[in-house]
Symmetry: D2
Subunit: 250 residues, 4 copies
């Protein structure tokens, strides 16, 4: 039994430091690195790639909306052609740093509002999948299971990697609970660790609206950008290791 732990990272921009990369990289097995649009300046991307290399962490591209001031968290009405071009551009930019370090592009996972839009807007999802396919059809796409995003990634013939969120509450229908709902975000490290364990060992977790919900996961996403982020990642990692789950990149 094994699982990947992924974290969004490399989001610092010039003199602006974001997140806790130094503490997070030793704890995870894959990272999704910002590519300049919502975070990640060239110099900080280079730094993040070097850090990933030093820790033997697999590196994926984390393309976002072109909205630095909004950190890619605000939905934008991009056409599918614009999504395609923006994603391709960002993948290529990150790839150059990997190539310079002799690393390969391990996966792609969209960021923030682009990820969420892909989960419910088929054209956006298709544009992302087509961009990845055009760049390299061997590169896997990390998706939220049960969404049009997963469907389009499969239709494009890409390898799909299923993701779950131990810190996020789920609804009975399998979707993530909207952030506006009380209890939608788990901040207690031990609680997140317990949920991560259930997801991996039992393939399910309690739903916010009652009962349980099936959760399929090949990778668990842990957020390291809040003050307790590193602590939470450590708790999840420890719980999995103590249960004998192997933690390794997909």
């Amino acid at each position: 039994m094994f699982i990947d732990l992924n974290a969004d990272a490399g989001e610092s921009y010039g003199a602006f430091t974001y997140g806790h990369d130094q503490e997070i990289f030793p704890l995870v097995t894959s990272v999704n690195l910002a590519c300049g649009f919502h975070g990640g300046s060239p110099s900080r991307m280079r730094e993040a790639v070097a850090l990933a290399k030093a820790h033997g962490v697999a590196v994926g591209a984390h393309p976002g909306f072109p909205d630095l001031v909004g950190f890619g968290r605000r939905e934008m009405a991009l056409s599918p052609e614009e999504v395609y071009a923006d994603v391709l551009y960002q993948i290529g930019a990150l790839h150059a740093f990997l190539r310079a370090e002799g690393l390969r592009l391990h996966h792609v996972k969209p960021h923030g509002a682009l990820y969420l839009k892909a989960c419910r807007d088929r054209e956006t999802a298709r544009a992302i999948a087509e961009a990845v396919k055009a760049f390299d059809p061997e590169v896997p796409l990390v998706v939220l299971p049960g969404t049009v995003y997963e469907e389009e990634a499969r239709k494009a013939g890409l390898r799909v990697v299923l993701e779950a969120f131990p810190e996020r509450a789920y609804l009975q229908n399998g979707q993530l609970a909207p952030r506006s709902l009380p209890g939608s975000w788990i901040t207690d490290p031990e609680e997140a660790a317990r949920r991560a364990l259930r997801m991996v060992l039992e393939g399910k977790v309690e739903a916010l609206d009652g009962g349980e919900v099936a959760v399929r996961a090949e990778t668990l996403c842990i957020h390291g950008d809040n003050p307790r982020g590193p602590e939470l990642v450590r708790a999840v990692r420890r719980a999995l290791e103590e249960a004998g789950v192997e933690i390794r990149a997909f």
Copy 2:
């Protein structure tokens, strides 16, 4: 006897159209495409790559300073590490569009103030050369002959392509005449064509400060972004063809 004609292109940005790509691409054999920093949004870059493909024009990357509002024409005090990262980022971004179209990266040529700084600042030149080498040591770098930029490109072991400018006046010492000097810029198409011909056939041209200057060139750079740009490119091309010079990518 043959020569390459190159033009800076793909500089449009979103709704902002710049230059005359549609008229220029049929006339040249290689283009240097902007990569997003001084011009060239992802969607317009994609468009420019498609146009190049349609016309069978060789595509190089044209990285510039991160100064969209200044169009990359204002020198910036970037550290060599920042130059390296910025150039690598931009090369990668353009490369993704080429890869998606089944094209290869034909060359790299820095833009505007970055090009000019490389010609006289050894550290900047070395950083550019190292970025190209890190990305792909087989990719040639277009340089101004007789500069530290040429030296550093050679030291890095890159293939070097020598460039001359039929529209720009030269000084006896082989350098380009500063734009502030009267007569530094040739705007008459027939005059530019005549100079291009001398450069290719005789390897020299009149100097602005008297006498003649040797000009070595494997590629001639023609600017298409002024109103008479396309006319000037046509005049140069016609003159070369009538003299029996083959025009083809290096």
Copy 3:
């Protein structure tokens, strides 16, 4: 009987020229100048303000979404607080150039997707109105009649100026026809002129979905950024003048 003719302008950005300001400014009585977010770099804003001063044209601020690459035409999910701050910032920036030239801020009119969002999203509309009020409660807001945007502008106690679009088709319900509908955009100058005249003289115009629709207007918006823009503005202006309508700023 009189009417104002307004045009969006000052949208050039650094080396990127957009629209036909030189031809349009002599033809209109007010302009809405971009403030840097969707277009309008500081130097080009200064230039546009000087041009407006030379032609005696009233100058309003034209704040947009922070989306230069999308020219402010793509809706963005900004919070009301973000809209307030972005609008206030842009008004202030333009105001500085007016103040330096001894001019006053004549009005505010949001740009593109921000304008359209304000017409149907009450919180966005309120945020815009509050920003204008906070800056100067005497400054009028240009609105589309019959929208929540008009309502919120009135609730904030601002002077409201009603706008109509001779180039745009209307539906029977008084709304602008979506651009996706055939016939939604009038490109023939004479037809636009005829419609402008009916709007001003009769207060109505033909609806795209049949019958007529009442159109209240204190200002007519004419787009000068397409190739036939200046011609269209001239046709509208001529038709109004020949009918004895005085053209002057509101």
Copy 4:
């Protein structure tokens, strides 16, 4: 005997937090707020203005080069016209937030590389002074004494406020020691406090290259953006207060 303590602040940008505004504002008497070009997004500017109001701190504009990724610390070859327009734009943007809060613009102080360039490039200095004068000739300009920047500010007829840096080493010629020199930056809070005291009480301080140097100061600049920033500001403040120096805005 009195002195002003100023700090650069409001440099956070969207989700990117920079510096320690919450800790610094209660300790200083004036702040220089970023205006969007090197830091300071509209929402964070609004937040900083509200914080300044809550603490009764005088607010100045802190315009910088248009280089967010370089935090305005990299010199750029802007023309005087570009400097004028960029400074005017930024002053206006900040002013809008002040006006909305019923505050006035207390002063202007350029940021980073723009400040340093103004100290030695007369045209840049003049452009800054002209922009301030065009906006409001009553607004003082904070300058480094003994520079062409001070000269041009005086020539423009502006009120000039002299600034000194307790954390920075000085040379015998009165200039700041270049950052590349060992010892050019004082990081020990007690040492900075001691130097601040000498500057205010004796009008001089030890020079890095031997002997003493006269230092005229109406305001002391303290950097709060390093980890020990708040501690250092507290030490300087305490030392001044204990010596009976009144700390108040100029």
